[in-house]
């Protein structure tokens, strides 16, 4: 009798049990996670923000890039890329682990837990970890004086949205992987790195040749960066574009999750 009741609870809260298990796993890596969360922004701010920033500001005069200091211009882009990187790591490795290395997704699926719940659980846990990264990053940016306006806190949610959109697609793609070595290298070098470089991260997208600009348009990072700049220093964009950026990111997130749900279920029952 007791188990009948439990089964109904699993059908409702199954994804949260997966989150709980993921947290237990992450807890083993807590010092690495916290160190990375602090060190990553500090290193970026010192090298690119301050190093390159002083060069840019000296050349252009203060307010030379989009009307603000270079560090202020750069901050929302760095925040969003940190969110994306963190979210990707946290969905890719558990998914490879679950389907290929330890095959523990198959163990989860031999309980009342379904494929959808496993996918959703891994995803939610990844976003929780990403949120920690984003909050730490945001406070370091604040201390560095890179967040001048009162609406700057909204940049955290924009960054989360970018991380969420990227992570849902990666959750789907990783669930299709059979040969992991090639996949991880390919994703890192052919997708993430180019998007990082060509999404208007270090300079406005408009200063690139028109032929390269579409890379930015399809990149969640560019959409998040535009929104982030709007919130952190009032970068001027139209209401229409604000809508476009939000819709692009949320649709990508929803599409990725839908595909991931379908493929998790399919692969577990192969």
């Amino acid at each position: 009798m007791k188990l009948e009741v439990a089964q109904r609870e699993v059908s409702r809260f199954g994804a949260l049990y997966i989150v709980e298990a993921r947290f237990k796993n992450m807890f083993k890596w807590r010092s690495a996670i916290i160190t990375a969360a602090i060190l990553n922004p500090v290193l970026y701010l010192l090298s690119v923000g301050v190093g390159i920033g002083s060069l840019v500001d000296a050349k252009q005069g203060v307010g030379g890039v989009d009307g603000v200091q270079y560090l202020t211009f750069l901050a929302p882009a760095l925040l969003a890329s940190a969110a994306i990187q963190g979210a990707i790591d946290e969905v890719t490795f558990p998914t490879l682990q679950g389907f290929k290395w330890a095959k523990n997704f198959f163990a989860m699926n031999s309980t009342p837990i379904t494929g959808n719940q496993i996918a959703l659980g891994v995803y939610i846990a990844a976003l929780c970890r990403t949120f920690l990264t984003v909050v730490v990053y945001w406070f370091i940016l604040l201390i560095a004086g890179a967040l001048p306006t009162g609406t700057a806190w909204l940049a955290m949610f924009v960054a989360m949205l970018a991380g969420g959109a990227f992570a849902s697609i990666m959750l789907f793609l990783t669930s299709k992987v059979e040969k992991e070595d090639f996949f991880l290298t390919a994703i890192g070098r052919l997708i993430i790195m180019p998007l990082f470089l060509f999404s208007g991260t270090f300079y406005p997208l408009s200063s690139m040749p028109l032929i390269l600009q579409p890379i930015g348009w399809i990149s969640p990072l560019w959409h998040a960066t535009e929104l982030g700049r709007y919130f952190t220093y009032g970068h001027s964009i139209s209401g229409l574009m604000i809508g476009v950026h939000f819709i692009f990111l949320t649709s990508l997130l929803a599409l990725g999750l839908k595909l991931a749900f379908r493929n998790f279920t399919k692969r577990l029952s192969k």
Partner: protein, 307 residues
Amino acid sequence: MTSLIFARSLTKTYGDFVAVDQINFEVRKGESFGLLGPNGAGKSTIMRMIGATLQRSSGELAVLGKDPEKFGPQIRAHLGVVPQQDNLDSELTVRENLYIYGRYFGLSKKFLTPKIQELLEFAQLEEKRDVKVEALSGGMKRRLTIARALVSEPEILMLDEPTTGLDPQARHILWDRLFRLKEMGVTLLLTTHFMDEAEQLCQRLIVMDKGKIMAEDSPVELIRKYVTKEVLELRFGSDKNSQYVDQLRQKCDRIEQLPDRILLYTNDGETLLTEIVGSGLHPITSLVRRSSLEDVFLRLTGRSLIE
């Protein structure tokens, strides 16, 4: 007795390949039921269909009275699954593995705390409770996987090749644990390609080959039905075995020539051996043993279980 698993014309195909070919069987409550057959016989495929993680291609299947295709999670809530390959969470400790698995069944911490203690004792892993799984031996991992499958007090415990890859000592420890479960009245469903495992643990079994059932009965009955009481194994040296086969054939009911030895089926091995030696034949080695399920399989398929 009620049947917990009921299969009628159960079939699974992958394209043109028929992995499970129209098989019928029933498993009753409290029974320990085995699927014996070589690798590739379709045993694991059957287990996964029963475990509601693989859809059948055709035929009928009811597990705990329900169709696994429609009631996957509801059925899985009452199964304990021990897969062929351990899929523990290697970065978590022994205790944590039991805990999170129990959570997947929606069990509360209050229920799980004493349950985990009980299972650690059962699996003889109390001293390893806070050790990471990656540091355990193969036998310990296997025991943990079985303990994990028991955390939800399942109606059926399903074990896919439970002792494959273990050394003899670890196997015996495991058999002892499984035997206890059997005594406690847990319904066991297990696959194996070890005939001694099937003989020790199964009350009833089906012998499978290439997706089909070759025979079904208790181990004792299978041996009685298909082979003689004893087997005389003779070795004349690899090149010479074949030249004696015809001569020996006249002396017994049935004879099997394997690459390294000749098997003579008889109800009295010693007498047959005396007679053979008396007729002037001198095998290098000779052995009289009781017939086993291995011989049943050889009789039914003309092949060995382990190739």
